[in-house]
Amino acid sequence: MLRAFILLLLLVQSCGEFNVSPYISKTSNSRTNSKQLSLISNNEAAAPTSFKIAVISDTHNYYKELEEQVEYINERKNEYEFVIVAGDITNLGLLREYEMTKRLLEKLSIPYIVAAGNHDLLSNGESIYDQMFGSSNFSFVYKQTKFIVFNNNNWEATGKIPDLDFVESELASSSSSNNVLISHVSPEDRDRWNEAQRNEFSKLVSDYSVDYYLNGHDHNPTCSNFSTATRCTIGASVKGKILELNLSNTGVGHQHVKF
């Protein structure tokens, strides 16, 4: 009997780990966005002038749906250049939630980058995001388009949020034909932004002729006009949609597609 228990104990031990707390923030899993941006950059020379990217958001703990999104994108890996995830890849900002989502995203056959969502910054999530993905404000140019990703989770993040000086400086230095802004929260969110702030975002968009503003947070996929740009809410994984962005020298277009 004792032997059976020792065997059982060894079996259980092989499945689990001595987890000291789900709230720990220390991870060796680092600089994912920077590594993925290198992959994106490596693919750029061979990419066509007109190209498509896939944008997903608010995957939270909808792991089944995220896996389906990954499968859908992989089946069309020759159509998309890369994937943008517009935040909220966790529910509680816990390390194991981050790791689970990242494990699923690693199955993508094309590169991906991840923006910070409000849920991702709960508990010790801000520190985990910093370690795992790097700075939550960054930009990159792909072909004729500049993508500016910034953190606007003003209730959850610490420091200057949103850092509009960063956004303005990136827009001012852009020589690309298209400019696309990506943040998790909508610039039109009336709970988070007062009228003066909303006007400030709107002015920035019009002053620099931003083409598209992509955000997550609200789970229903929609698109509408915001200042001079088109603003699209990507929609949560559970809503069964992916946003396709079509980019070329002549402009940017979009469509929400079912997966």
């Binding site: 009997m1 004792l2 228990f5 104990l9 259980v12 031990q13 499945c15 689990g16 780990e17 001595f18 987890n19 000291v20 707390s21 789900p22 709230y23 720990i24 923030s25 220390k26 991870t27 703990n61 909808y62 792991y63 089944k64 749906e65 995220l66 896996e67 529910n91 509680l92 900002g93 816990l94 194991r96 939630e97 689970m100 699923l104 709960l122 508990s123 010790n124 520190s127 209730w155 959850e156 709970d191």
Partner: protein
């Protein structure tokens, strides 16, 4: 900075009250309540016992210092007796709370009321084995394997994607029985 005064609380309780109602002193490694958790417990009857434990995770291990207060409800399922020893199979539910405002999303002043559900309280369901030698029954060792509410919920939502066994949390510990 660790709150050593709080850590000593179980011992103070133990010294002052064990003669009246406490039955054992307990020490645990892992099981989601700390690198090291210390506590006391009461055996109410042959089946049910309750532990109060206070655990800590050092900054070196967790990236930040984490303090946890846990109530562990243990239910004995079966006793395997041997000539020189016994082993008890038990199940349990640990309700634990991580101290600090940043974990209590629902109460944090940064957010509107009820914007988030509470993030600092978790439930851990576990199965355990504890045993002692017949000639040293004051000293018990135990081993537990459990899964918390988050991963049970995630498994229910995505059974084909989430491997529940990958989220089993193990614990090892020792009890001194008065």
């Amino acid at each position: 900075m660790l709150n050593f005064k709080l850590l000593l609380l179980p011992f103070i309780l133990c010294v002052s009250a064990h003669g009246y109602f406490l039955d054992y002193l307990k020490m645990q490694h892992a099981g989601e309540i700390g690198e090291l958790a210390l506590g006391v417990g009461k055996k109410f009857n042959r089946i049910y016992s309750l532990d109060y434990m206070h655990g800590i995770v050092r900054e070196e291990t967790g990236g930040t210092t984490i303090e946890t207060i846990a109530l562990k409800n243990n239910f004995q399922l079966y006793r395997f007796s041997h000539v020189f020893s016994y082993i008890d199979l038990y199940s349990g539910l640990a309700a634990y709370h991580v101290t600090g405002l940043k974990y209590q999303a629902s109460r944090n002043n940064n957010y509107p009321e009820r914007y988030y559900r509470i993030g600092s309280i978790r439930g851990l369901f576990y199965l355990g084995l504890k045993g002692a030698l017949e000639e040293a029954t004051k000293h018990e060792g135990f081993f537990e394997a459990g899964i918390n509410d988050i991963w049970i919920e995630n498994y229910v939502n995505s059974p084909s994607t989430v491997n529940l066994f990958g989220y089993v949390s193990l614990a090892l510990g020792y009890s001194y029985i008065f």
